[in-house]
Symmetry: C2
Subunit: 311 residues, 2 copies
């Protein structure tokens, strides 16, 4: 059994996008096993258990990931993760991966793939709400799929926004008001908000939105009015209804489960697509176990590891 302490190191982001895209394609074809993630509540946060099996990549395992919002106060990330990989033939545990940064990367890749298929054009202005680790992962992955002519960023703290924009060099990036950031072709929302912060009137026809921040019951970033103007694609319906951007509107009766336009897997396999350049599309990301298995499959090929006794 091997332990990979830094499996994200030297990982090629284009390779990550490709393998995550392949995982979504398998999901769209019904070729994966992936029960809904299981939540356990801890005193100051929670953790989720995400088992899955991706036959086409020959990989099966479980990601275990926590969310503890107060962790930065003690110098730890809010989200930390471990992925356990089992040998397909015998079920023997064969690898354990530190999956904290892999989680950021595979989430960035899902947004990039959604933008590749659903953006209104190939040359895009990207708007980013929030400037945390996930915001950066989204920009870097998306820049590999589309030509980003400009990146507009907003943070509650303007100093963070300026620093984030500077970090994105050589991309042309600048800090702007939230309303101006929303005037873009692809809008990415990455905040932990529990009330809608994006107003419907700020979103013009043709925008694609990657709604990344809402990943637990009670979280939402978009005015529910936007959902009604848009076609909403989810990664997994059960997870999205429970904890995605649409979870609060569904619980309040402001959105119905039958209204979703389909899954990203169906988009990647061509069963669903953007129907016109004027429609608003939304990708509601909650994060799938198969994304974790997909990125693990390529990380294990190139990263260094420690051999552990297991018998």
């Amino acid at each position: 059994m091997r332990y990979f302490p830094e499996p994200d190191r030297d990982l090629n982001l284009s390779d990550v996008n490709r393998v995550v895209e392949a995982a979504f394609a398998d999901h769209g074809k019904g070729l994966v096993q992936m029960p809904p993630k299981v939540h356990i509540t801890l005193p100051a946060g929670d953790f989720r258990t995400m088992p899955g099996y991706l036959p086409s990549l020959g990989i099966a395992g479980v990601k275990i990931v926590n969310v503890h919002p107060d962790n930065p106060k003690v110098g730890l990330p809010t989200v930390m993760a471990l992925t356990v990989i089992l040998d397909l033939a015998t079920g023997r545990p064969m690898a354990i991966l530190n999956a904290t940064k892999l989680t950021d990367m595979r989430t960035g890749a899902a947004g990039a793939i959604a933008a590749k298929y659903l953006a209104p054009k190939k040359e895009c202005v990207l708007g980013v709400i929030g400037t945390g680790r996930q915001a950066e992962a989204q920009v870097r992955a998306t820049a590999l799929e589309l030509s980003l002519t400009q990146v507009k960023v907003w943070s509650r703290d303007p100093v963070h926004a300026e620093a984030f924009a500077a970090r994105l060099t050589p991309l042309s990036a600048e800090s702007q008001s939230m309303e101006k950031v929303c005037d873009c072709d692809i809008l990415v929302t990455t905040t932990p908000s529990r009330t809608p912060i994006i107003k419907s009137e700020w979103i013009h026809a043709g925008t694609h939105i990657n709604a990344i921040g809402a990943d637990a019951p009670g979280k939402e970033e978009l005015d529910p009015e936007i959902l009604h103007r848009a076609r909403v694609f989810v990664d997994d319906p059960a997870q999205a209804f429970h904890s995605g951007e649409i979870n609060v509107p569904i619980n309040k009766g402001l959105y119905q489960t039958w209204m979703i336009a389909g899954t990203l897997g169906e988009v990647v396999t061509g069963k669903r697509k953007r129907e016109s350049k004027d429609e608003i599309t939304i990708f509601d990301s909650t994060g799938l176990a198969i994304q974790d298995l997909a990125i693990a499959s390529i990380a294990m090929r190139q990263a260094s590891s420690i051999e552990l006794p297991f018998m």
Copy 2:
């Protein structure tokens, strides 16, 4: 983060019984978080993911365990397991335990606790069907809770039965026919059978049965007629209906979910008990995540471990 390659080494079986008993007591009081285990099917077997949180012991985590019946042909155990423990305050992965032998031991402890509370008397004749690793774990754990005046064992292969009986020294153990083994005070069934092998007419009044073998859909060891003569206690109703001894009879309409007498947790907390010395009682064991967390909590205190980088 620490890795424990042999956390079972030097573990005191009485301590294991006590901590597993405490976990069942918490379960009976509704003080644990434990969603049903999640099954994923692999080409030659399956694996189950078992998350849980046991507040009284201050431990939370996930056991991942496979079942691959053909593994012995390649020199591997049928069942192998890994338990990941998270820090309660921050969700950080803090320990990984090789849980293969811990799984045997905590299952043995559950049977021992069931026998302690449900056996018809304190001095008992123990009958054991099957002579694998789990059979041995059951006998060793039960011998610490009750005085076993005799152990009668049956295996399909008489040579295995003789060798098993010899291994149990200083307990007085001998190989007998299946019918004679069933003439006992506590019967333990530990086979992977998919058809009932224990006939109802072999089971006399007052017997307590630990039904251990059936742990997956399609498995059963007892003539369903025995269920109707007995009061059946389960570890967890949802898991027992899905994959315990009662799963096949329920699916065939030969047993109803409302017929169960209660849970082992309710027995340990005194809410349910053996009502007379003549009644037949059954404990239907499927294995709970809280048993794995309970045994991990004491194993981590005494076992040696390897420090792994995690950041």
